[in-house]
């Protein structure tokens, strides 16, 4: 592991580091460089439907942001500033009318639309905002297990419970080998495939049970339907969905809607755990107070770009902040309330 000297290298890649920021393998877990997103649209103030001209509306320009191993980076920006758009781009969701330029690096590799798509559920996982992101007709346990064939299942199982599952996994591969040597017929192969999927499913079920145990979800929660979950349960279930796929980076878009600061901090403790285990978290929020209390670094999103990406510690003193908008944010915080008494809502 290569750790940079943070005292000396306070600033590189346009950003400042926090103590928790690590450069595993000598690079960032995820790095976005000069991202531009604009949409082709019809003029909204055209006099009639027929003579409306096509115009380009630029939503994100020259955006750079990096996520290191071991840290939570919060993106703070006003509503409609393009935060969800950024998350979607990282997941490889592009609208047909969007023009996207720039580069995205994941764990040292340069990505394109196709490779970003491949990372869905295999490296980058999304923690969505609410229980509406779960299929209403499928039991929670099954949904957490998911319907994808993950090749990282074994690695992940090891991580959750080193002894138990890895033993299982090795015994499974042994029996597969034995089967391989004496069974060459076609039916043998389909049987083998069927058995493999069955075992694969059993493993995922086991992993899901482990995750539920770790996040204090009762085992009977698995057989509930999404509409039966309480708010807190739903959030933990959604997190389990992401962890199930053993990601390196978690992107969380407003994961604590409607929670006050104290409850939100509790909810985000699980993200802290994930980051401490070496993962990276990109936390999207419009709540600067929340960002400052749970994140390691904060990226200030303003006017379509990240104007400043800095350690939370630097918010202790406005002189450590370089951009005027970040300074304005500092002044808007409740403990410095001589500018804007509304506190955390300053952005909106």
């Amino acid at each position: 592991m290569l750790t940079l000297n943070h005292e000396l290298e306070q600033s590189h890649h346009h950003h400042k580091h926090a103590n928790t920021s690590h450069h595993v393998g000598g690079h960032h877990l995820m790095q976005v460089e000069n991202l531009n997103i604009s949409f082709t649209m019809y003029e909204s103030d055209a006099r009639s439907y027929f003579n409306a001209k096509q115009v380009q509306s630029n939503v994100i320009h020259d955006l750079c942001i990096g996520v290191h191993s071991g840290e939570i980076v919060a993106i703070v920006g006003a509503s409609g500033s393009g935060k969800t758009l950024l998350a979607d781009s990282l997941m490889g969701h592009f609208e047909p009318n969007a023009t996207v330029t720039g580069s995205i690096w994941f764990d040292g590799d340069k990505m394109d639309a196709a490779s970003l798509k491949k990372l869905r559920g295999h490296g980058i996982s999304l923690v969505p905002q609410s229980v509406n992101f779960l299929d209403p007709l499928i039991k929670v346990g099954k949904q957490v297990q998911g319907f994808t064939k993950s090749n990282s299942i074994k690695k992940c199982a090891d991580k959750v419970s080193p002894k138990n599952i890895s033993n299982n996994a090795s015994s499974i591969s042994n029996s597969d080998d034995a089967n391989n040597s004496d069974d060459v017929s076609n039916t043998g192969n389909t049987n083998k495939a069927r058995r493999f999927f069955k075992e694969h499913r059993a493993q995922r079920a086991k992993l899901q049970a482990k995750l539920f145990e770790r996040y204090n979800l009762n085992s009977n929660v698995a057989s509930l339907y999404p509409f039966e979950l309480s708010g807190g349960m739903a959030r933990r279930v959604l997190l389990c969905c992401a962890l199930m796929d053993n990601p390196k980076v978690i992107i969380a878009d407003e994961p604590t809607p409607g929670l006050d600061l104290e409850l939100a901090k509790v909810a985000l403790a699980d993200f802290r755990q994930f980051a401490n285990d070496g993962g990276g978290v990109l936390l999207i929020t419009h709540d600067i107070e929340l960002a400052l209390s749970v994140a390691d670094r904060v990226a200030v999103f303003y006017d379509g770009t990240v104007v400043e990406e800095t350690a939370v510690a630097n918010f202790a003193n406005p002189d450590l902040l370089s951009h005027p908008f970040s300074k304005a944010l500092w002044h808007a915080l409740p403990e410095h309330d001589f500018f804007a008494p509304t506190g955390g809502d300053a952005l909106s």
Binding site: M91, H93, K118, R120, G121, H122, S125, L126, P128, S130, N132, F133, L134, D135, P136, L137, I138, G146, F147, T148, Y225, F227, E228, C241, D245
Partner: protein, 343 residues
């Protein structure tokens, strides 16, 4: 549960009672003179006055309608549906025979339209706003505005007269003894009328499924499924089908009334001796007993369709199943109200 069953039973019998009253009243105010309609114009003109009086006694033209209704009701309660004056046979046996013929037709049409409509709807949704979707939509809109009997005539001309693929009419080959009729014959005769019925029925279910499927494809939970790396096949298989199936089945069960209505026209065009054709004959001939029995049977079918749809919701949808019986029976109550409304 007991209360719910009793409620539904009560509703069912009230419905049947209302249907039979309406049928009796309609026949009694109809301007058709059953005697003239049934013996034919020439026979009527050559008939003696005494003979006419005797016949109108036979057709019950002189008995007030309420009295006929009470007589009929008394018999029905004892399990006797009466005699069809037109066919000169017990109503029960005519209905049984006609229903067997119609059931083939309607089951085929109902299944075809359901399956084809469902598949077309999903295909269209997957190709939203592209060529395939436009084709499906155009097809549905054109068909939804096509008169059933006209389409039946076109099919008859094209497939039976010009191409000769299917028989011109009837449910069985003419001049063949019933012991020699095979299952193939039965189906061969039912295909064209069933096709007509289902081609019309497809539009409704296809458009509905398409709409629903597009909603689901844009839903947050499908977006999340994609974010977890699920392929499009997996999305359809695990999420779309499950979520569309229930509304589609409900719609299809509720469309029994439409299939039944359509079968009246289609059977007429294809001279297909089913319930629909019998209903037309009974109506035009003032054969109250038969007409009422057919009305009751169709009402019962539609009622059963709606009831099954509501029960299915309770069984399949966890949001209803798990949230206790009270809200379940409430939703069924609403559905029951719809059922009687449809008829």
């Amino acid at each position: 549960m007991l209360r719910y069953t009793l409620q539904q039973l009560l509703k069912f019998f009230l419905l049947l009672f209302a249907v039979s009253v309406v049928a009796f009243v309609l026949v009694s105010v109809s301007p058709i003179d059953p005697v003239q309609a049934n013996v034919g114009q020439t026979a009527w003109l050559n008939m003696s006055e005494a003979k006419r009086a005797q016949l109108s006694e036979y057709w019950g033209a002189n008995t007030p309608v309420w009295q006929r209704f009470i007589n009929w009701l008394g018999a029905v309660v004892q399990g006797d549906l009466g005699i069809s004056l037109r066919y000169n046979a017990p109503v029960a046996s005519i209905i049984a025979q006609r229903f067997a013929t119609s059931a083939v037709l309607m089951t085929l049409a109902w299944t075809f339209s359901g399956v084809i409509g469902f598949v077309l709807g999903i295909v269209a949704a997957l190709h939203k706003d592209r060529l395939l979707d436009r084709c499906v939509k155009a097809y549905c809109f054109v068909l939804a505005s096509t008169p059933t009997f006209w389409l039946a005539l076109v099919f008859l001309i094209v497939f039976s007269v010009l191409l000769g693929w299917f028989p011109l009419g009837f449910s069985q080959p003419v001049g063949v003894s019933s012991s020699e009729i095979t299952l193939f014959d039965t189906i061969h005769h039912a295909i064209l009328p069933a096709l007509t019925l289902s081609v019309i029925g497809v539009a409704n279910i296809a458009l509905h499924t398409r709409e629903k499927c597009i909603d689901i494809l844009q839903s947050e939970y499908l977006r999340f499924a994609r974010s977890r790396g699920e392929s499009i096949v997996s999305q359809i298989r695990h999420h779309c089908l499950r979520n569309i199936a229930l509304p589609a089945i409900t719609l299809q069960l509720a469309s029994i009334s439409e299939i039944f209505g359509g079968s009246v026209l289609v059977e007429q065009v294809f001279s297909y001796p089913g319930l629909g054709q019998a209903a037309v004959t009974a109506g035009l001939g003032g054969d109250v007993a038969l007409l009422v029995a057919i009305a009751i049977l169709s009402a019962a079918l539609v009622f059963a369709g709606n009831l099954i749809a509501n029960l299915l919701y309770g069984v399949i949808d966890p949001r209803i199943r798990r949230s206790g019986f009270t809200s379940f029976s409430d939703s069924v109550k609403q559905g029951g109200a719809n059922a009687s409304h449809d008829i």
